[in-house]
């Protein structure tokens, strides 16, 4: 059980600590694409970049709306594929300006 007397917590996005109840409420309000849900809840925007929750969100949208996975538009994927220290980019820029374009 969770903390004293509370209902067990069901996590859908471990990185951003988003529960399935929060996602279901958003879907109920009409936010029925992964992109909208991501923008409102940060679900999928953490350390693992949605590798854990992406399919669970699709599954929840599908269950609530009766749509199949192929009919639910995915969010846009952009580089970088994983969180990167800003220092790496700063250093790359310094190297670039120093003429070292490796």
């Amino acid at each position: 059980m969770g903390p004293e007397g509370s209902k067990p917590k069901t996590v859908i996005c471990r990185c951003e600590d988003v529960t399935v109840e929060e996602i279901r409420k958003l879907i109920e309000k009409g936010y029925q694409t992964p992109d909208e849900i991501k923008r409102l809840s940060r679900c999928g925007m953490g350390q693992c970049q949605g590798r854990t929750c992406r399919n669970l969100v699709l599954q929840e949208i599908g269950a609530a709306t009766g749509r199949e996975g192929k009919d639910i538009p995915m969010s846009t994927f952009r580089p970088p594929t994983k969180p990167v220290k800003l220092g790496l980019y700063a250093r790359a820029r310094a190297e670039h300006e120093g003429g070292d374009d490796r």
């Binding site: 069901t10 471990r14 399935v20 590798r51 199949e68 996975g69 994927f77 580089p79």
Partner: protein, 362 residues
Amino acid sequence: MKSVEIAVVGAGPAGLSATLAAAGQGASVALIERDEHLGGQLVKQTHKFFGSARQEAGTRGVVIARRLGQAVREQAGIDLRLATTVLGYYSDKVLYLEEPDRLAKLQAERAIFATGASERMLIFGNNDRPGVYGAGAVQTLMNVHGVMPGRRVLMIGAGNIGLIVSYQLLQAGVQVAAIVEAAPRIGGYLVHAAKVRRAGVPILTGHTVKEAVGEEAVEAAVIWRLDEQWRPVPGTEERVDCDVICLATGLSPLGELMWQAGCRMAYVPELGGHVPWHDDDLRTSHEDIYVAGDASGVEEASAAMVEGRIAGLAAARSLGHDRDVEEKLGEARRELAALRAGPTGEKIRRGLESLRQGGDGR
């Protein structure tokens, strides 16, 4: 900027095989792997492969990893980059790489994405309690690092991974309380199921986990029955004492780089989720990009190795390295078809058919 003919991303069974096939044709290849070792998930597979004589049947995954890794290290013309993650693929055929302490760029005429798959999570109460593990993590702890994940495990999923990991846990001296499977029947090979059953482990089909119990960490799990429509039946709850809940509930292909590159993606449940459209050469809708292994559709490592060979050969051929290539491709295609023949390949055949139905992908 460094340039290479073919960049292979991921050094699991598919990526290693693709690298060897392409380099064997005389192409210059860069093999990029996030981890510090070659072999991907093979390194934790201590069980023997079977089912196919030509794909290392009777050999343990970890031995296959060593053999393929050795061959890659001995083959000339391979630029091996370990501990390096591909962050992006850009339209000028440039890959951005994160090396341990710097960013680097690499231009590649062709890219083969052999990025594998990630483990599926499951929705149940208290699913973030310490003690809830993916089956891959349990195998890494146990088979790579020699660390017991706990004393008593509840396994969720009776596919091959759930069955094999259960058996490995038993061999390591860990109790397996039960294997719970939501489907009405066992998904994995019956020979694996028979082994764990003989050891006294019950396999409960038509059941799932309702919640984990425990304040600080898993102390037990509550399971319940599912009806024919896969809905849980209230009143059927049972408590199972355990300190580990191990999820072996399937894999999802990792296609981020191909989404980024603009490859046409399709959602095919039989292949594990979103996969890039691809032809018999494993070429995607992007003419410079090939895919192989679980990233093209979740399947066994034996199929991943053959797909890697096909992608490597086809990518090399597209750059003019065409010595005996048709013959080699033909042989590999026949091996792949043989692996997918019969009832165990039915799901993957159906998935590929549904993937191709969307036209030529271009």
